[in-house]
């Protein structure tokens, strides 16, 4: 899928919400439909658009217990997109992420070498070409780190589901990992749960991943986490 198509897809709030849900748990239609505040007809339309554009695919799978097979959805590719818009610059690019982060690099990005004043057009152009090379190395680093984060969060999802098995706890953990902290109100909106249900699930998650839950804000307790690791 090309960059422009993804911008079209991202330009709609319902589609962004659906993509967000698809990344944290296994999703079938009625589950997705419950999480967003639009009709199931609208959800169906947006899922069809994303399937047509090759962003997601659906597959049939039997439910956990006896019951009919369900249609599940998942995102089909792994990319990071960059776009710069200024009065003088406009460009965009998509980076294909690595499947698994085989080797992670070391990047010394020294922007101090770039001059802030130039005598003539020739020197300006030389420095612009130099800054393009720095940009290219920064994008390599971005591709590496996003490949790593994608791989690691998949490992975390797998181990959490295998060992603990609670989708809602995992969704809270997923959110905390991505955004460092979350309010109970926000999680309640995102997960379509009551506040007290969010707090109950956070308390359960807290048994496995130390959290700080205070004044309606939840975050990972990094100090306790490091102690636990020793």
């Amino acid at each position: 899928m090309s960059e422009p198509d993804i911008f079209y897809i991202l330009g709609n709030k319902v589609r962004r919400d659906l993509l967000s849900h698809l990344t944290c748990t296994e999703c079938y239609f009625s589950l997705l439909s419950n999480k967003v505040n639009v009709s199931s007809t609208a959800v169906s339309k947006h899922l069809k658009i994303m399937e047509r554009e090759g962003i997601i695919k659906s597959y049939e799978k039997e439910g956990t217990f006896i019951g009919p097979t369900r249609k599940y959805y998942q995102i089909t590719f792994s990319r990071t997109y960059i776009a710069t818009v200024t009065p003088n610059l406009f460009w965009y690019k998509g980076l294909d992420l690595h499947e698994a982060p085989e080797k992670l690099g070391k990047y010394n990005i020294n922007l101090e070498e770039l001059k802030l004043s130039h005598d003539n057009l020739t020197d300006m152009i030389i420095d612009f070409i130099g800054s393009n090379e720095q940009l290219s190395r920064i994008l390599d680093a971005l591709k590496d780190i996003e490949s790593y984060r994608n791989w690691l969060i998949e490992e975390i999802k797998d181990i959490y589901l295998k060992e603990i098995g609670d989708m809602t706890q995992l969704a809270i953990l997923h959110h905390l990992l991505l955004y460092n902290e979350a309010t109970v109100d926000n999680l309640s909106d995102i997960l379509n749960l009551k506040e007290r249900e969010v707090l109950k699930k956070a308390e359960e998650l807290n048994k496995f991943v130390p959290l700080i839950i205070k004044d309606g804000v939840i975050k990972i307790d990094e100090e306790a986490l490091k102690k636990k690791s020793q």
Copy 2:
């Protein structure tokens, strides 16, 4: 302007083409309208959408020679957007670029410290938090380099227009700086010129910025440029 709005704007080819033209020269309506392959009604509609969303603004200015005042357009902000979409990760962010690059940093981004295998959930989460910190530093570097490139290309545009004053040569230079090289065919499409006109303008540009023009491909002659600077 928030990130989602920009994705909506970027999700349309005509709007992307218009933004691209707006970044390389001063543009009034009929000039913009000539550069894209849609009706002037459609151009007008897209410009209105972008003005409404606060991406561009219009201003009246007298033409270079005697004549009526013209409506010019320009992009109103300077931002870099990042979005990652994978089966396990979905996030996006907009970075406000600096006005002028006051100080440029030095970034040692060492991703080798991140482990590729983990014994337990706790260690995975510690490393994920570590990778978030690395990502944050990579985004700081990206913001710095894009601020610098934005500032420097504006300087280049200013000096080129003041000293040489040819908009078409500048548009070719602008393209070469952003994409390293360009085919004559591609420039002919982008600038809405015949191929021989592109070649003529490239030959003129070549007097001020050394180019390699060969087999329908144009690029900046970096070696000649460095020699010229000494």
